[in-house]
Symmetry: C2
């Protein structure tokens, strides 16, 4: 059984200037390999405390991942202290020095002789190449323990994890690296999802299932433990097929995909263009869609029609509809979607209108209520959903629900019945 | 010197399902009181590991804050283990039981007899009332050490920190609670800011200044250490006045204020309405403005004019302007701001047009370039800024810069010259 520990180094983490997302990322990735992190420790840029943390970890963990403090400045102490801990000498690596010089040159900066120490590496460490930054990663192996020392810059750390550390750990952990799958769902609550797949554990007693509620919906992890890679792959495929058959329209992707990336890919593949009319989401649907690089290929425009005159002027929603049904209604949602589609000439129009809160609610229209509208050439429809949290959360949930409505429509599924 | 440690408890933190924002929040609040957190440890819902973490902390820290694992479910072990650690017995508190029953009733749920254990408290602990949840906070004092045990639910933890823990720690730390101030700046780099206030430490040798680059700009913390409250207050005021005089137009607020909240308050106070025309920010400026509750009072509409036809159709930007200067230009930015102001009838229009990346750049118009437009009754102007990170960051920086341009205009400052 692998006992894993994460050590993160940096004053900025302890002072709350930077939230420790590195530890969360590493914990999640190890979890996906079936390895549970037992401890996560953070110390500042302090030699004594880092040395102590290394000692403590050595006595309890067999796999230790350390991030932070590998940079070139005075308070970056990790390389030196870890080398000291493993009785390893720092030696100058001329190849690494040439690479760092080149990197500086490309950034239009000059490397001073003082910064030669960046090219020093501990003689007992294996080196992990850093293709996007200066500090290489380090691997120390001693007795039954393995220490991976990675930069604190998230992009550099993640790249080393994906390219080097996770494959190595996967091999160390046996077959486990192969036999897990992550399915991402949205538009269904955790309890309803549990209910629908409740017979899973009877059918597949050797597969472990975990449900994780996340911002965009409930993530399902399917994991097969303690078997050969061949058996694991086969079992995993059977389990995944069962879940896909049971939950199909709710599953929007695998791995780290976001709903906006899925929708973007569908719009591109189907060669369709879209425009968005938002009220309660205040621009967040457009923001999400335009977060995907290359979105100008299919995203034409967004209208944040907060004031009713914006709904009538730009979107052509009839004053009679607003008067008769109100701004928060199925009729207005559909009229907004149709309006933005017509005025933009896009293939598809979608819309949101609801009560994000805390103000604006009535007994019939409570905080958290939202109508989502959809319009394309030969059909229009709406979905009505209800959430109940604060304003920021409601905007987020409303936006994800709108993108999911779009995803279902593009895939030919029925609107979400839940 | 207070040696502080944070211990966070929960499997979900180690598996990366939840990012450890509680530790960051507590670290930041203690830092503001002049107390540096030396260690932050995370353990899972595991009795042995939690007990070990308590022992380690007792040997090195004098102030320990623990969050998580106080709930009513089986894997919530913190109360029991901490009581065991301090040789304290759990005793039933009938007053607390009545309060929890009431809370359940208000949520329409029934409290089962099994859940009576929620009303048990360690006999050696002082109790911190939880006004919004069921689990109370606990304080253990032994030898020179103080342990605060708080719920893991962020809203409950934060309320206890603000109402009880921070005032208590402030008193414990002496005068420090009174004598710090946080000024938030934007639109100026950390190095330029340092340069402008470089003589500060000569003028005010007893005041400690720290600069923290954050998402919306550089935050300045001014702290006076080791003096009486009266002296501290006086010195702080002198130091703050100096910084305000030196950096005035760059300072947008104090404490935890965000730029959108500042702008929202200004619009309300001045009774002005606004509409937004966005290109490269894709809806994020409107999203930020509508994150503030009550924004419908001053926010009329937003237009995300991604496609050029949207710029001409809705915003009335001349095809000749787009052709002559391009979509990313000062002229287009101003025309967009004027267009959205005219068509909406708002008092003010602002706009963004730029290259968020990674595609769309030319040698003259690189990734990270943005033009921001402003229009009101008797004047129009633009600002041009340059950032260089990835798409998501650029959208964020562009949006903050647009809101800061608005803030300066509302306050009668000149456009940002940097």
């Amino acid at each position: 059984m692998i006992q894993a520990e994460i050590i993160t180094v940096g004053d900025e983490l302890l002072a709350g200037i930077v939230i420790n997302s590195n530890a969360a990322y590493i914990g999640e990735k190890l979890f996906e390999l079936g390895i549970y992190v037992r401890w996560a420790s953070t110390v500042g840029d302090d030699e004594k405390n880092l040395l102590q943390a290394l000692e403590v970890s050595y006595n309890r963990a067999s796999l230790v991942i350390i991030t932070g403090g590998l940079g070139p400045t005075h308070d970056d102490i990790t390389k030196r202290i870890v080398a000291e801990f493993f009785h390893s000498k720092l030696v100058f690596d001329s190849g690494l020095f040439a690479r760092i010089k080149e990197l500086y040159k490309n950034m239009g900066r000059k490397l001073s002789e003082e910064q030669r120490c960046q090219a020093e590496v501990p003689d007992k460490a294996e080196i992990i190449e850093n293709t996007i930054g200066t500090a290489p990663g380090l691997i120390f192996t001693q007795e039954d323990r393995v220490y991976y020392i990675l930069p604190g810059v998230p992009s550099e750390m993640k790249r080393m994890m994906q390219k080097h550390v996770l494959p190595l750990i996967g091999r160390m952990a046996g077959a486990r690296e192969l036999v897990f799958q992550i399915l991402r769902t949205t538009g269904i609550t955790e309890s309803e999802l549990s209910r629908r797949i409740q017979s899973f554990s009877v059918r597949f007693p050797d597969i472990r299932l975990s449900l994780l509620p996340q911002t965009q919906g409930v993530t399902i992890r399917i994991m097969v433990l303690d078997c050969t890679p061949e058996d694991g792959k086969r079992m995993l495929m059977e389990g995944e097929t069962y879940i896909r058959d049971t939950l199909e329209p709710f599953i929007f992707g695998t791995g780290e995909t976001s709903i906006e990336e899925v929708v973007a890919q569908l719009l591109k593949n189907l060669n369709r263009t879209i425009s968005v009319a938002e009220s309660c989401t205040g621009g967040l649907v457009s923001h999400k869609l335009t977060n995907v690089p290359g979105s100008s290929a299919y995203f034409n425009r967004g209208v944040v029609a907060y004031h009713n005159t914006a709904k009538t002027d730009i979107l052509g929603v009839g004053a009679d509809i607003l008067k008769k049904y109100g701004a928060v209604s199925a009729e207005t949602a559909v009229a907004m979607a149709e309006g933005v589609r017509h005025s933009s000439g896009s293939d598809i129009g979608i819309s949101t209108t609801g009560i994000a809160g805390p103000g604006g609610a009535t007994p019939e229209k409570p905080v958290g209520l939202v109508y989502l509208g959809y319009s394309e050439n030969d059909r229009s429809f709406f979905e009505c959903r209800r959430y109940a949290k604060n304003r920021i959360w409601n905007k987020e949930r409303f936006s994800v629900a709108a993108l999911d409505m779009l995803r279902r429509a593009l895939l030919g599924y029925a609107p979400n019945p839940l």
